[in-house]
Structure formats: structure tokens, C-alpha cells
């Protein structure tokens, strides 16, 4: 049970990292995520069933996500429409595309297929129960991704992206094209989300086009919960707390699912709980920001 929460928290923690980039660093509220998550899952699943190299498949999923993000940024840049609308447009279009990727099906099971997870567990050779092997594997995956994330935001490009959401005028004054920077930032964010989707499909054993429903909200909730855990202005801790927030969020959802019946709650109420959780975080942040200036970066 606890390892299940941790694994799910880590997988969806990659989504929170992506959501953190768009919502917090770029100040570009991006809803593409609801489409790029199942896109990553669909690409991974179809490539697995066709017997492609697993790591190559993961890489292509990443590329698909990046492309989805770039499309959103281009719509926003060129048509001068709000990022929210641009994201919804891409997300809607992705719904059809995802069905096509899955071979005109809404669902693709991965049972009895060799996935990265089955490979890893067979490599461990029964030295540990399978669920612990999977847990260790995802701790490593999350650590590697967090490491790349931290390195990236210390490069000149990463720093400039950090300034973009805070002060676009400053970035323009430095001779950097904000349109290109948004394409890069939103692209990276959705790339991460698609990778998460690819892992989620393998962990759950299927890809489904409705997999992405509400991902953006749970990602945002995770980011906000994380913000209560650690207070810092260092990018490493900001990334870490997004992942920890995701684990905590999964824990809360688990509790809601298993112990909710004491208060006559059903699994159907989980979306309601998620929404209330976000509103609660917003209210608490409001109260806190009266005392301390909020939102820091690096």
C-alpha cells in the first residue's frame, strides 16, 4: 500500500515538475497537460506492442510531449490569445490524435508485454519483492529527472526562463526573443508530462485516452501542497517539493478512497476533494503572503 502511494507519487511527481515550470516559473498557465499525458502513454503503449526498443519509445514519447507544448506556445505567440485558451485548443486536438496513435482505439492493454518495468524487475531477479524493485527504480528515475531539471535551471538559458515569468520586459530588453523562450519552456514542461504518462501506462498496464482527465488539476494541487512543505528560493528544493507534494497528494487521495466511507464518501467525490484542496491551498497562501512576500525562484 505505502509503496503504491510512493510509486504513484513519484510518477505523477514528474507531472508536478512540468506543471511547476509552466505555472510557477513561466507564469504561463498551460492546460495542454491533460492531452500530453495520455499522448505520452499512447505513444509508449503502441510502440511497446509493436516491439520497439523501450528506451527509444520513451524518448519518442518525450518528443511527442515537447511537440504538443511547442504547438500551444506557437498558438499563443502567433494568434496572441491567452495561454489558457491555447492550451485548451491543443488539449482538445490531442484527444483525437491520441485515439489515432492508439490505432483508432480508446484503450490499449499492455498485459504480457515486455515493458521497462518488467525488464527492471526481471533484472533484479527476485532479490526483492517486485513492488520494492519498482519503487527503487522510480526513486532513481525521479532523482535523475530532478537532477537534470536543477542543472538546466542553472544554465544561462534556464536563468533567462526563470526571469521570463517574473519580468518579460527585462528578458526582451536583454535581446532574447520571448516567443522562442516560451516554446522551449512549455515544450520542456509537456515533455516531462509525456514521460510521466509513458511510465504511468507501463505501471498501470494499459494506455487509455481518458488517462489525462484532471491531470492538470492534480498536478497543480501537488505543486501547491509542496509549497507548504518547504520554504526556499533554491531551484533544487523547489523541484523537490513539487515531487514531495505529489506523493502527499496521492496519500491524501488514497486516504479519501479507503477511509472516506466513514463519512459516506465515495470515489466519485475525489474530484471534489481535489478542487477543495486547491481552494484551501489558495486561501492559506493568501493569508501567508500578507506576512511574507510569496513566490520565489532559485
Amino acid at each position: 500500500m505505502i509503496e503504491g502511494i510512493l510509486v504513484e507519487g513519484l510518477i505523477y511527481g514528474i507531472v508536478s515538475l512540468g506543471v511547476f515550470i509552466t505555472f510557477r516559473i513561466l507564469d504561463f498557465p498551460d492546460l495542454t497537460v491533460d492531452g500530453s499525458f495520455p499522448l505520452g502513454a499512447a505513444i509508449m503503449a503502441i510502440l511497446i506492442t509493436n516491439g520497439a526498443n523501450l528506451w527509444l519509445a520513451l524518448f519518442i514519447s518525450l518528443g511527442g510531449g515537447v511537440l504538443a507544448g511547442v504547438v500551444t506556445a506557437v498558438i499563443h505567440n502567433k494568434l496572441k490569445i491567452p495561454s489558457l485558451l491555447a492550451g485548451i485548443l491543443t488539449m482538445t486536438m490531442l484527444y483525437s490524435i491520441n485515439i489515432r496513435v492508439l490505432g483508432n482505439k480508446a484503450n490499449l492493454p499492455l498485459l504480457k508485454q515486455e515493458t521497462i518495468l518488467t525488464k527492471v524487475t526481471s533484472m533484479a531477479g527476485g532479490s526483492m519483492p517486485d513492488q520494492y524493485v519498482v519503487l527503487v527504480f522510480f526513486i532513481i528515475v525521479a532523482a535523475v529527472i530532478l537532477g537534470i531539471f536543477i542543472l538546466f535551471f542553472h544554465t544561462d538559458l534556464g536563468l533567462t526562463l526563470g526571469a521570463l515569468g517574473n519580468n518579460e520586459q527585462m528578458v526582451v530588453s536583454q535581446g532574447a526573443n520571448p516567443e522562442i523562450l516560451k516554446m522551449i519552456g512549455v515544450g520542456i514542461s509537456n515533455g516531462l508530462v509525456a514521460v510521466s504518462g509513458a511510465f504511468a501506462a507501463q505501471y498501470q498496464g494499459f494506455a487509455d485516452i481518458s488517462l489525462g482527465q484532471g491531470i492538470i488539476i492534480s498536478g497543480l494541487a501537488s505543486v501547491m501542497i509542496g509549497e507548504f512543505l518547504i520554504r526556499s528560493n533554491r531551484i533544487g528544493l523547489l523541484g523537490l517539493r513539487a515531487i514531495l507534494g505529489s506523493i502527499l497528494f496521492k496519500g491524501i487521495m488514497y486516504a479519501g478512497r479507503y477511509y472516506g466511507y466513514y463519512v459516506h464518501m465515495t470515489p466519485n467525490d475525489l474530484k471534489l476533494i481535489t478542487g477543495v484542496l486547491i481552494i484551501l491551498s489558495l486561501v492559506l497562501t493568501k493569508f501567508r503572503s500578507i506576512r511574507v512576500k510569496k513566490r520565489t525562484f532559485l
Binding site: 544554465t155 544561462d156 536563468l159 526563470g162 526582451v172 536583454q174 532574447a176
Partner: protein, 266 residues
């Protein structure tokens, strides 16, 4: 250095709100010029800056930089050789990032790659530059910029702009939002940097005596036109009274902005 040729800017063209912000302006800024611009609110000073930096294109006319037509070049491309400081001290720095990160972003203009340039050597260089400001900022390089005062932020913006070696700097009343003491500090720094790095400068000010005291050339603007352009010896002989009288003669109306008159003796 930069040349404006019959430039006109009309806002909300063809609507009942149509306003002509600039009328048929021609201006040639030479290398090494230090121009001060004075004019009442709505005279078109900031619009002139926005056209030079490329925030928006002119309705009519052309803009040349070293004989290259840049009229249609976007702002970020022109920013590579133009530095601009706004009245609002918050616009020049990213408040939720540290001093050293802000300086790193401003160190080099243009697209930034995947290099990690902020190393020990770079920090030493930044520290050495910050000492010049005499504000003790060299000890606070890891702090977020939002913790600095308006004056400190404006001084930092000025320093960072100078570090990127622009060919032309535009100062849009960059001391107006500061208290008198900080305004003087920032102004002194400005004068020092302009002299040290031989920067071509255009400075908008609301303060007549400041416009007279600084620079080698003075422009006076009114309702979208440059009505006075004096330089050299003629400028040196100007006084606030003479300037107001001149305005009277040219426009046959009183120079009405209280702000200008009040700040006349500052």
C-alpha cells in the same frame, strides 16, 4: 548613430479615440550625443522611446540605425544595441531571483544557451562591479532582488545595462520614482557611467534645471512635435526662465505643467 525620418505615430487609428502621439518627427542622434528631452505629459516623449526601441512600429516614417533600416525589427533584436531604463525600478530586474542571477542574465545580450556561465570567476567579476555602486550590494549577491530598495534596484539596473555595453541608452525619467537622495545617487552614477564608457544617451526628464545641467543637447517636445533642439554653446547659456520664455514664443501658450515648474528649482 540613430536616425528617425518623418516618423508619425497614431494610436487607435480610424476610431473616435484616435490620437496622434507623434507628428512627422525627424531626429538624428549622433555618436556620443547626450540628449535631454523635456516636455509636458502627453508630449510624446515615451512614445518616441517606444519607437526607437521597437515596442511598436511607427504609423509612418522610417528608423535607421547606422544607416540600416530597422523600422520593422522587433524589440528584442534592437535590444542588442539599445539599453533602456524605465521610470519603474521594478521593470529592470527579476524580483524573485538573486542578484547574481539577475546579473548573469544581463551580462550578455541575445539568446542564451545551455552553458553554466555563473562560476567562481564570474561571481568575482560581479562583486567587483557591484563595489562601484557603494551600496554594499557586493555582500548580498545571493539575496533576492525583491529585498532591495527602489534606489538600489535602479542602480543595479543601470550597472547591469552598462555591463552589456549598449551603443545607445534611453533613460525614461529613471530617477522620478526615487526619493531625492537616491535620485541624486542614481543620477551621479549615470553621469559617471556615461563619461566612463562614452555612451550615446537620451534622457527624458521632468526637471527643467536637470535637462539644462546635463548633456550636450536639449530637445523640447509638445503635442507630438519637437519644438526646440539646442546644443553646444547655445545650450550652455540656457536657464529655466529662458526656456519657459522660448516655449511661450514658439507655442503662444503658457507652459502649463505644474510638475515642470515645481521641479524647476530642484
Amino acid at each position: 548613430m540613430i536616425r528617425l525620418q518623418n516618423v508619425t505615430k497614431v494610436f487607435n487609428e480610424g476610431t473616435p479615440n484616435e490620437t496622434i502621439a507623434l507628428r512627422n518627427i525627424s531626429l538624428h542622434v549622433r555618436d556620443g550625443d547626450y540628449i535631454t528631452i523635456i516636455g509636458s505629459n502627453g508630449a510624446g516623449k515615451t512614445t518616441l522611446f517606444n519607437l526607437i526601441t521597437g515596442t511598436f512600429p511607427p504609423t509612418e516614417g522610417k528608423i535607421f540605425v547606422r544607416d540600416q533600416n530597422v523600422t520593422r525589427h522587433p524589440e528584442y533584436r534592437r535590444a542588442k544595441y539599445i539599453g533602456r531604463i524605465f521610470q519603474d525600478p521594478l521593470l529592470g530586474t527579476a524580483s524573485n531571483m538573486s542578484l547574481e542571477h539577475n546579473m548573469m542574465i544581463c551580462y550578455k545580450k541575445g539568446f542564451k544557451g545551455l552553458k553554466i556561465s555563473l562560476n567562481h570567476k564570474m561571481r568575482g567579476y560581479f562583486k567587483q562591479q557591484l563595489v562601484q555602486l557603494e551600496m554594499g550590494l557586493e555582500e548580498r549577491m545571493k539575496e533576492n532582488v525583491m529585498l532591495l530598495s527602489g534606489g538600489q534596484r535602479q542602480a543595479l539596473t543601470l550597472l547591469m545595462m552598462v555591463l552589456s555595453r549598449p551603443e545607445l541608452i534611453l533613460l525614461d525619467e529613471h530617477t522620478a520614482a526615487l526619493d531625492p537622495k537616491n535620485a541624486q545617487i542614481v543620477l551621479d552614477l549615470t553621469t559617471r557611467f556615461i563619461g566612463e564608457y562614452k555612451l550615446t544617451t537620451i534622457m527624458i526628464t521632468h526637471n527643467m534645471s536637470q535637462a539644462i545641467a546635463y548633456g550636450n543637447r536639449l530637445l523640447m517636445m509638445d503635442s507630438g512635435e519637437i519644438i526646440l533642439d539646442v546644443e553646444g554653446k547655445e545650450k550652455e547659456r540656457l536657464t529655466v526662465e529662458k526656456l519657459i520664455k522660448k516655449f511661450h514664443e514658439i507655442r503662444h501658450k503658457t507652459f502649463e505643467t505644474d510638475e515642470v515648474l515645481l521641479s524647476g528649482d530642484a
